[in-house]
């Protein structure tokens, strides 16, 4: 699908070519049908907007958001251990900044208008968020850290060759540091998964599931394309059975059957069981996405690799897989986005991720009936994360696109 020719009808709005009126005439009132449509839609939009504003300022009781601010973001994580979460936040900010700077090292300008707007929005959020002053300062600090790291990353990217590889290592290493900071042990007070919650738990579950399901999905895809009949059959069976069953049924196994299947006395935590369920589920879908990429690799690539004397394993590792993964990036990220969204189903099995904790908050006698405010609030959070992921995917796709 690389040959996309945007038809002329979807040309960008050329507002500067002939003034506002000309633009309006061209894009909204170019014939009587469109005129009617425009008027009708505008009227509807105005009505919807007005009723929303009226609701938001007169009916809605937004106190349910600030009163439970901590719960939404970190659940029941112990108060005196918050510094660990801030440390994680800072670490992620630094690494993101470095990666951003390094990726953008060859662009003309690091802090483009979009980037500045995003940083500004983060800053504004940090200022207005209904949290204690220290939290706001820490948040602003992290934003500054992000910007500084980006600048530093750009300098490093220019001076140190092969820095990209190091940053990948840093990400991998940071995962273990984050795990240690979150769960504790080795000198830190341990915090059990039962006390993780809210957005923190949602992100944790999604990230770990994504990390686990990726290799499994790739292996399954290779298995499905394998020339060995038994391996192929097993992969196909797994993929098709999992893809044929709703996620909620898989989570049902996780909650009700995994304890049955394991030897007596073994009881994985319900968060880990949820991760297992999500991983097993997503891996099957990911396998299909990767398979699409594998099938798109021309046969000549494999033959050329053979001719060079590479054995099948090396051919796959060095020639086929990198190309296949590149092609399937949009599909893979799409799968990650749906995995992120699928974590909401965990609220049905009583895990207090973002939606789950919201429903718990709604049971508090002081906040019963405030679900519209709460759902809107967490809806925005989910939307932001998914939207950022999809934008990121488009960026990566564009930067990896070596075809001309």
């Amino acid at each position: 699908m690389t040959t996309t020719f945007p038809p002329s009808s979807s040309a960008p709005p050329a507002s500067n070519s002939g003034g506002l009126m000309a633009w309006l005439r061209k894009n909204l009132f170019n014939n009587w049908l469109n005129g009617i449509l425009t008027v009708a839609i505008s009227a509807m939009l105005v009505w919807v907007g007005m009723s929303f504003l009226e609701w938001a300022f007169t009916v809605a009781q937004w106190s349910v958001i600030p009163a439970n601010w901590q719960l939404y973001f970190v659940g029941r994580y112990p108060n005196d251990q918050y510094w660990r979460l801030w440390a994680i936040f800072g670490l992620v900010a630094i690494l993101s900044g470095l990666s951003w700077g390094i990726l953008a090292r060859n662009t003309a300008q690091l802090f483009t208008k979009t980037a500045l707007i995003c940083l500004g929005l983060l800053g504004v959020f940090g200022v207005i968020m209904p949290a204690p002053l220290t939290s706001r300062l820490l948040f602003l600090g992290a934003v500054i850290l992000l910007a500084a790291a980006a600048w530093g990353g750009r300098q490093l990217g220019h001076s140190v060759a092969g820095i990209g590889r190091w940053i990948s290592f840093a990400w991998i290493a940071s995962f273990f540091v984050v795990m240690w900071l979150l769960a504790g042990g080795f000198g830190l007070e341990s915090v059990s998964t039962g006390n993780w919650g809210g957005l923190l738990l949602t992100l944790f579950i999604s990230v770990v599931s994504i990390l686990l399901c990726f290799p499994m999905g790739v292996l399954l895809a290779l298995g499905r394309q394998s020339s060995l009949p038994v391996v192929r059959l097993l992969s196909v069976l797994y993929i098709e059975i999992i893809r044929g069953v709703p996620l909620i049924a898989i989570l049902f196994i996780g909650q009700n059957m995994i304890p049955l299947f394991l030897p007596q006395g073994m009881r994985p935590d319900n968060v880990y069981r949820a991760i297992l369920g999500l991983t097993l589920f997503s891996a099957a879908y990911l396998a299909e996405n990767v398979r699409g990429g594998l099938q798109a690799i021309p046969r000549g690539q494999m033959e050329a690799a053979h001719a060079l004397g590479l054995n099948p394993a090396l051919t796959t590792m060095l020639i086929i897989l990198p190309q296949a993964l590149k092609i399937s990036i949009p599909a893979i990220v799409g799968q990650f986005i749906s995995l992120f969204q699928d974590t909401t189903l965990l609220s049905i099995v009583s895990i207090l991720e973002l939606l789950g904790i919201s429903r718990s908050i709604l049971a508090n006698p002081s906040f019963i009936g405030r679900y519209w405010e709460v759902y809107l609030f967490i809806g925005v959070i989910y939307w932001l994360f998914c939207y950022l992921m999809s934008i990121g995917s488009r960026r990566i796709e564009a930067s990896l696109n070596t075809e001309h």
């Binding site: 439970n68 901590q70 009881r267 319900n270 009583s350």
Partner: protein
Amino acid sequence: MLFAATLSVATLTACTTPETTDDAAADGDEAAPTATAEGSLLSAIRDRGTLVCGVEGSIPGFSFVESDGSYSGLDVDVCRAVAAAVFETSEVDDLIEYRNLDSTERFTALAGGEVDMLSRNTTWTSSRDAAGGNGMEFAPTTFYDGQGMMVTTASGIQTLEDLEGRSVCVETGTTTELNLADRMRELGVNYNEVKFQDSDATYAAYAEGRCEAVTSDRSQLAARRTTLPSPDEHALLDVTMSKEPLGPVTMNNDSEWFDVVKWVTYGLVQAEEFGITQDSVQEALQSENPEIRRFLGVEGDLGSQLGLSNEFMVYAVEAVGNYGEVYERNIGGQLGIDRGLNMLWTDGGLMYSPPFR
């Protein structure tokens, strides 16, 4: 692919083991935290240092999450009392891990050893108790309840027969659901049932007027009624469709642990009978009354017979107060539900503890 599967299972279980059995691992055979033939859950809990308590998590008055992230409610206080007795301290908030369980998974969670005890609005029934049924052990009832029906006053419903053709909201997976079906079949009333997976959705739908009636335990209905936008527009029908004795639950085949939960629960009632409150428990230690002295472990070894310290009830009462205080704090004061059947036997209720001796 399968390697990946086994690998992830292995890593996942590996991830979880250190946390649950940190110290117990050294003891070897005590590593398994579930109740097997030898080794009671009691020692496993002590070794682990935390009590894992299964609660509902969204019933006002019984268990819900406060804005600061702590749990409160009557069911929660029972967990706290048990933890206080086991860990011999009245500061138990860091020693308990709460698990929210919905009605469908609560028994599997207990049977799988995921939680040590349930304190989650669970009705004591024969099939749940029986070894051939769910195989649970029911500690004494902490709340005598009965299934009721709340209706909107606007609907004009007075009796169950008036529900003909109306909608009733109900939570699935509960005895409530079955009682309602039985009762309505008996009366020959055709009603429209709207079933939800959790209580939040059930009451949200009722509050929005999806149903003219909602059925559940009377206590829950009364609690929820106070939290509805205009409580006066809702009324409880004067029917009790079933007996619902609610209490803590443990797994079968572990009488040592069961006895602990059972007698701590009784102890809260007994404390009220003795008039020992959260504030007066230290004074009561000086009491001359031999019964109180035995109860609080000043004399005798009632506690160590149960595998606890002799002062276990001191810690429990210090942590949560006596049954009357627990009731008043969570149910009576906040939700305004009369004690009714939950009075002490001396006041005409059903709360009666066997003697501590």
